[in-house]
Symmetry: C2
Subunit: 325 residues, 2 copies
DNA sequence: TGATTTTGTGATACCGGTATCTTTTTGAGT
DNA sequence: ACTCAAAAAGATACCGGTATCACAAAATCA
């Protein structure tokens, strides 16, 4: 920068101004500076800028899992909002483990990120203390928590699960099973919603129809095997996670079970795949993209425009009725 | 940091040393410093550290698309190698557009990333100039380029495509079609490999059997429709991209075509899904995870250990013969 | 025209650390 | 006990920018 200043015959300060607040510098001088910049191939050092001005242009994103394709829509949406605003995205994985999450959050704060998006709403007291102490805007995704740290953009797992279960009941299914991942805070909320709906529909919950399965397609296979063994009179299964529903459908196809005749299948999440299998699977359309967009917008509103956007946005969901139910 | 130094009764320099090179500080003093750190809840400012020491702990990753689940394995592997080494990951999307890529690279350099991973091997002269000028280690993924910028960790699209095509020929298929995405530099390499293999196997290439399709499952539907219309005697189709093969298989199922009796299907990439459809799809196992791991390791070798790792790692591939061929 | 703003530019200090060199302390060897 | 090398701690400058205030030049007003 020193060299640019010399070549343009001005002070470093003027160079800085020409680059950051061009309107504050006379046109003639400004053009000399730009000329010098391009002639020397000068690249601004954002690190120094951030340190000096105590404000950075990096947003941190913490995901429970990087391998899960579910999040790619959200990531893409965040990125699409940030880029035109000149912000960048830093990514970290925090599994559902408190210690790891604390380390990740500490690392992000240490990098002085301008804001943070957390996918997940269960945080250790230490994490919460750090986040509040850091005094940066935070958006939580993944569920609507009762006590948000700062801001929230999500749908309610409980409400979505409840709605789909009621939908199945309304279609006339009487013996609905629930398959979900074990040890997953979001799955727990979904189970609550499921049970609420059963009660509301006047069904009696039956523990034989609550199945905990592994991640991935194989989870669906497990669910069907469990149902056949423990509760063969089940007439519908609500697969609350990822690709479990597809795994279940494929397993039914293999066994020659008619879907939805022998067993109806509903999915929690509407991956593109759901529309393409036979029969297509009834699913919840969750606002994955919208969550990312709103999260980024809320952060930018606070950081750039210093506004105070609504603390919480419930982005809802939609039931897509298809051939599998 | 000043406060920590005061509380511990030492100079700032000693605090810095206690945190970065604990072995250089006497145990007694070190403990006093750590005590002060935790008492004050001090978080190290990595920005200042990077600026002062002129070395950062952030790695940049440029992907052609964030929505594509294919990359999630690579991202996860990179992240898994970086975290224990104390490095972080910054993510950007650069579509296959030169201008966007230049902007992204400039932004990363401006953030003084310690190293860069580029998924993609076609770069504009301006990008290459910037990268060489920045003097940071760069790893290219996605293909084996003839003139790498710095380092490479990948498999060869051409070799993989050629190998699968030869595999189909060896299985006795005589009229093999090729379906791939249009306007994709990697797809172009794959097509070259396909044509090489046809020649090697003594087959005559037939333009009616070269199909350009859309992204996603629907691409498979398109491929089958095209084959039926333009070259109904085709006995095998090699789907060179993403989930096209699954789309094709599902379409065959819908039409009641026997797979592989009426038409054999082979896929370029082995997603988990390939093993679970019926019949399971023959696919290339590409080293997605290994690419990420090696990329990160190569960068760290250069950054941390100041070694000069091999410039290029061809990580190969594997043919998984399954029921669809 | 002189007084008063307004606008443009420069001087200086500082953001929060680390590199480097200097000084002090420690401890081994005789 | 004394010398001297090695280890530990401190002083100072600087990384590459920006905030802030001072000051000069230009524009506005009476």
């Amino acid at each position: 920068m020193h060299e640019v200043a010399e070549l343009a015959g001005v002070s470093r300060m003027t160079v800085s101004r020409a680059l950051n607040h061009p309107e504050k510098v006379k046109e003639k001088v400004r053009l000399r500076v730009f000329e010098a910049v391009s002639q020397l191939g000068y690249v601004h050092n954002h690190l120094a800028r951030s340190l000096s001005s105590n404000r950075s242009n990096v947003i941190g994103l913490v995901l429970p899992s990087l391998e899960n394709s579910i999040f790619s829509q959200t990531v893409k949406a965040i990125s699409d909002v940030l880029r035109p605003a000149g912000f960048h995205l830093m990514l970290a994985e925090a599994t559902d483990d408190a210690k790891v999450e604390e380390a990740v959050i500490a690392a992000f704060i240490s990098q002085r990120v301008a804001g943070l998006v957390l996918h997940g709403t269960q945080h250790s007291p230490a994490s919460i203390r750090m986040l509040k102490g850091a005094n940066i805007p935070v958006v939580e995704n993944g569920d609507i928590p009762t006590e948000p740290i700062d801001m929230v953009a999500s749908y309610s797992n409980r409400a979505a699960s409840r709605a789909m279960t009621l939908h199945l009941a309304r279609l006339g299914y009487k013996k609905i099973a629930f398959a979900s991942l074990a040890n997953n805070p979001r799955a727990a909320e979904r189970q609550i919603g499921f049970l609420e709906a059963l009660e509301e529909a006047g069904h009696k919950p039956d523990p034989r129809r609550m199945v905990a399965v592994s991640r991935g397609f194989v989870g669906g296979t497990e669910a069907i095997a469990h149902i056949e063994q423990s509760a063969p009179d089940t007439d519908a299964v609500f697969c609350a996670g990822d690709v479990i529903a597809v795994g279940a459908l494929l397993e039914c196809n293999r066994r020659g079970w008619d879907v939805p005749g022998r067993l109806a299948i509903a999915s929690y999440d509407d991956l593109e795949l759901m529309r393409h299998v036979n029969p297509p699977i009834t699913a919840l359309r969750l606002p994955r993209h919208e969550i990312g967009r709103r999260s980024a917008e809320m952060l930018l509103a606070r950081i750039v425009d210093r506004e105070l956007p609504a603390r919480s946005a419930d982005l809802g969901f939609e039931i897509l009725q298809r051939g599998s139910t």
